[in-house]
Symmetry: C2
Subunit: 248 residues, 2 copies
């Protein structure tokens, strides 16, 4: 299925790209490119996970379902990661939902295959476990940030995290959706985003968001963005987590 793709590929996923050639070669035949469509649900809470996804373009949210019907975002997964932490950690499923927020592509793989590959390849296993640590740190930061920081700072942080995982400076994003991600009213986003736009840091129209002043946005965000990014740099090297370093 994936065999038509040339072997030394331009892999965008940082986890796969970080593997030594031997490890990647073993994994490659089992990886299938798939599209990630907007709002597609990759994993549902409590449902056994059959497939894992290494995003190449676009990104997903990890969502904790709430009693009142909607859900709270607890983390992002993009080209720096992989969905399906439970598979890595030996569980069948999760209490979280994983949903595509920015459409793109991924390399997918059977959960059983990944389990087997981890069993047989300590390098792969080590890398994936280090990613789990990175992701845990991101979620922990989100917990602290949600409790302490205000809408405007959290919005700036969220836009930066999305931008890190987006292909260019523009991606689909409505105020309505941002409000669900940050757990605030839609009108609250309009106000906070309006201020960022007035300051020239972002611009948006008709459901598309564009980042126009990254440094400005960074200074508007709380420290939580920087802390997560530095953790990412520790795992992937100095230029990971910043933009413009996809290909190496």
């Amino acid at each position: 299925m994936a065999s038509s793709i040339p072997f030394t590929p331009s892999i965008r996923n940082r986890l796969l790209a970080a593997l030594p050639p031997g490890s990647l070669a073993k994994l490659w035949p089992q990886l299938t490119p798939v599209d990630l469509e907007l709002r597609q649900v990759l994993h549902r809470p409590e449902e056994p996970i059959a497939t894992v996804y290494f995003p190449e373009r676009g990104w997903c949210s990890m969502l904790a379902p709430l009693e009142d019907g909607d859900s709270g975002e607890v983390g992002l997964v993009g080209w720096e990661g992989v969905t399906a932490l439970p598979v890595i950690l030996g569980e069948a499923f999760d209490d979280l939902e994983v949903m595509v927020q920015c459409p793109g592509t991924a390399l997918s793989m059977g959960a059983d295959s990944l389990r087997a590959a981890m069993e047989g390849d300590p390098v792969l296993r080590t890398l994936l476990l280090r990613y789990v640590m990175l992701h845990h740190g991101q979620v922990a930061r989100t917990a602290a940030c949600n409790g302490r920081h205000h809408t405007d700072q959290r919005l700036a942080r969220w836009l930066l995290m999305s931008h890190d995982r987006a292909e260019g400076d523009e991606f689909p994003m409505t105020h309505e959706f941002l409000s669900m991600m940050l757990g605030v009213r839609r009108a609250g986003i309009t106000i906070a985003a309006g201020a960022l736009q007035k300051a020239g840091m972002i611009s948006y129209r008709g459901g598309r968001m564009r980042i126009t002043d990254r440094p400005g946005l960074e200074s508007s965000a709380c420290e939580c963005y920087g802390i997560s990014r530095r953790a990412s740099e520790r795992l992937f090297g100095l230029n990971a987590g910043t933009r413009g370093e996809y290909w190496r």
Copy 2:
């Protein structure tokens, strides 16, 4: 050091207790009982972790340091777990601080010894990774809960989580400290706790908290408590995570 302790011990730590005799026997000589003193810092952010702790009594908070000097709690570790996720996941350190909130005791162990033990014992490794999953879920829930739920519900949840990890129905806890854990004003805790006390669910005086109506407290808490507890039950069996089941 630990050799004076009889071999078939009354181990309270659920992770250690869940190990098959062979796995535990290999670990046992390396475990040293230590006291956990109130406010003792077990791990500091960015500092390499030399020792891990399997709490037996009492519990610890995982805290994310904030720019303004204080810190936000993102999770608890008690008799159901172990500190030092980074060691399990192959990192040297964490961005989080681990601090003793309720004094007690733990079985401690060198980080290197634990790494070696995990390498040599798949059962141990599997169990610890499943615990990482459990803890990740708890932190993710905290992220969602911090963003969406109100002080009164979060206080009830926090008291229940503490109670699960406490020895009896009473433990040391001031409003001041609760306010730091939940990230709200001290006066806000006094109001929320006062309401719970008036409803007969808790009572407190002079820095000691007593749980007097657990079912009532459970109905006051948000769904987040139940979700985390059920995840715990999946790992440890049906009675884990509830109280009164320490000894079997």
